[in-house]
């Protein structure tokens, strides 16, 4: 028996989320992306921070804080992006794309389903990072305060937007573009000042860094962790940049989907 359109949409979103839960449950190696790499990152950067701080003086002793804030916030954007991008890649690997395309499901319902399950993975991944940072390095992520919430929301939206670019590239260029699912964020990482202020970048590439919304989100995170007042200017810049990025990624994905249908690229997945 069928029901109203809103209930049917919700059912489709949860169906896609459940589908990816099954995949994760039966593919133990995927746990690496969710909890193992985050744990490795926090131990690596936390220990570097402790070592560097023991030899530093004055404000340079804040290096541990910078690194730990950076790694926690980095995993918000990373987990959001990787969950959606690899979620779509899973459909290409299992050749489910055609079967999904001939259902009443709308594109946004699919993305919402993958993003919903991605949130579960994100909570697990960031939870691991936060717990290790607290247990091993005495860094309590909640010490950032409620200002952490808008920063996390912005980074989440940035992760999803970048994932939509990746999905668009895979639709257009096929499996050759898969590597971007893991690589694209690492290209923006140094430019975004994840672990340092953008002033530490070479002068020539500083403007690129300042143009990225991630840069302002990470800067806001560091300022809050250092006990400064809410950095509204950084949050506003991050918010505006995120809005532009989300709109651009949606436009790009729609464009690539039209090309995918027009050129019959579905035959790559038959």
């Amino acid at each position: 028996m069928n029901s109203g359109p809103a209930a049917e949409s919700a059912r489709r979103v949860f169906a896609i989320a459940a589908r990816h839960a099954y995949v994760l449950r039966r593919s133990p190696h995927r746990v690496f992306d969710v909890v193992v790499w985050p744990a490795v990152d926090v131990v690596l950067f936390g220990s570097i921070g402790i070592f560097a701080a023991s030899r530093a003086t004055g404000t340079a002793r804040q290096v541990t804080l910078y690194l730990l804030v950076g790694v926690v916030l980095w995993h918000v954007v990373y987990q959001a992006q990787i969950a959606v991008a690899t979620g779509f890649l899973e459909e290409t690997w299992s050749r489910t794309v055609l079967n999904l395309m001939v259902t009443p499901m709308r594109e946004w319902e699919y993305l919402a389903g993958v993003a919903l399950f991605g949130l579960v993975k994100l909570v697990a991944g960031v939870g691991v990072v936060a717990l290790i940072a607290w247990g091993a390095y005495a860094f309590d992520v909640t010490s950032i305060g409620v200002g952490l919430i808008p920063i996390a929301v912005l980074l989440l939206a940035i992760g999803w937007a970048i994932a939509m670019f990746v999905v668009g590239l895979v639709l257009r260029f096929g499996s050759g573009a898969e590597v971007l699912a893991w690589g694209i964020l690492f290209m923006t990482m140094p430019l975004s000042g994840v672990f340092y202020p953008v002033s530490a970048l070479p002068a020539a590439i500083r403007p690129i860094g300042r143009a990225l919304p991630t840069t302002h989100a990470f800067e806001a995170g560091r300022l809050l962790a250092a006990g400064r007042p809410t950095p509204w200017g950084e949050l506003w810049l991050a918010g505006a940049g995120t809005a532009v990025l989300v709109v651009a990624s949606l436009g790009y994905l729609g464009w690539m989907l039209r090309i995918f249908r027009a050129r019959g690229y579905i035959t790559r997945y038959l």
């Binding site: 069928n2 169906a15 459940a18 589908r19 099954y22 449950r25 055609l98 079967n99 499901m105």
Partner: protein, 245 residues
């Protein structure tokens, strides 16, 4: 005018390698069972993919129960079931999980009940708890067909549905499909290289060659028109004609 299950008019699709579909008109009436036949490369799959809104035609239009694609695609797809013999099942899902997912994608509230009923219809209820990796290729194909019918669509589109099935299972599939079409007045559009199967299952046949409709009628009419004993003879004639061209 009667609303057709599928009405495709003047479909054209050009790929880099050439024109795959060249002005195909294809109508499937409500409750009608139509076979879409032709040699490899004749344009059958491209025609089906355009009819389902997965590939955008360069020219022409598609309506499913009066819903024009691509704008009304979600509404139209709610009326359609699709299976292809060449599509696998995801390895990491149990059959019941896979069917539940598709039941929910089709908006079914009781997806599990529908899945179990559809499995029983094709005599494979015992496969519900099996993982994709535990199924033979024939069983996977059967589950794909079960997936296509579990929401009781008004139009069923099957691309090479019995290609990997042994004669016994293929017979069960034909019976199951025949019963389903009869009970629910489901329209059927099926491609196959098994001419005997098409003759048994379909009341009308559309032959494609080089992207065009070259024959449209009942199996016996078409065989008679080409001066052959059956559809297999027509198929061989067209395939050799295509090779010569």
């Amino acid at each position: 005018m009667e609303t057709a299950a599928l009405r495709a008019v003047g479909l054209v699709k050009e790929y880099r390698r050439g024109r795959a579909v060249d002005g195909v008109d294809l109508t499937v009436r409500t409750g009608e069972r139509v076979g879409l036949l032709g040699p490899n490369g004749a344009g059958k799959t491209t025609t089906i993919l355009m009819s389902l809104g997965v590939v955008t035609p360069d020219a022409g239009s598609v309506e499913i129960f009066g819903h024009r694609l691509p704008r009304a695609r979600p509404t139209a797809m709610a009326e359609v079931g699709f299976a292809a013999g060449y599509l696998p099942l995801p390895n990491q899902m149990r059959v019941i999980e896979y069917l539940r997912m598709f039941g929910r994608l089709y908006g079914l509230r009781r997806a599990d009940d529908a899945a179990q009923a559809a499995l029983e219809r094709f005599g494979v209820g015992h496969l519900a708890r099996a993982l994709g990796t535990e199924l033979s290729s024939g069983q996977k194909t059967l589950v794909g067909i079960v997936k296509a019918v579990l929401h009781e669509p008004r139009l069923l589109v099957l691309d090479e549905p019995t290609a990997s099935l042994d004669p016994d299972v293929a017979q069960r599939v034909r019976t199951g499909l025949g019963d389903l079409c009869a009970e629910h007045a489901t329209a059927l559009l099926v491609t196959s290289h098994n001419m005997v199967e098409v003759e048994r299952l379909c009341e009308r046949v559309v032959f494609l060659a080089r992207g065009r409709v070259v024959a449209d009628g009942t199996p016996s009419d078409i065989a008679h028109r080409f001066g052959r004993d059956g559809l297999e003879g027509v198929f061989l004639h067209l395939a050799r004609d295509e090779e010569a061209a």
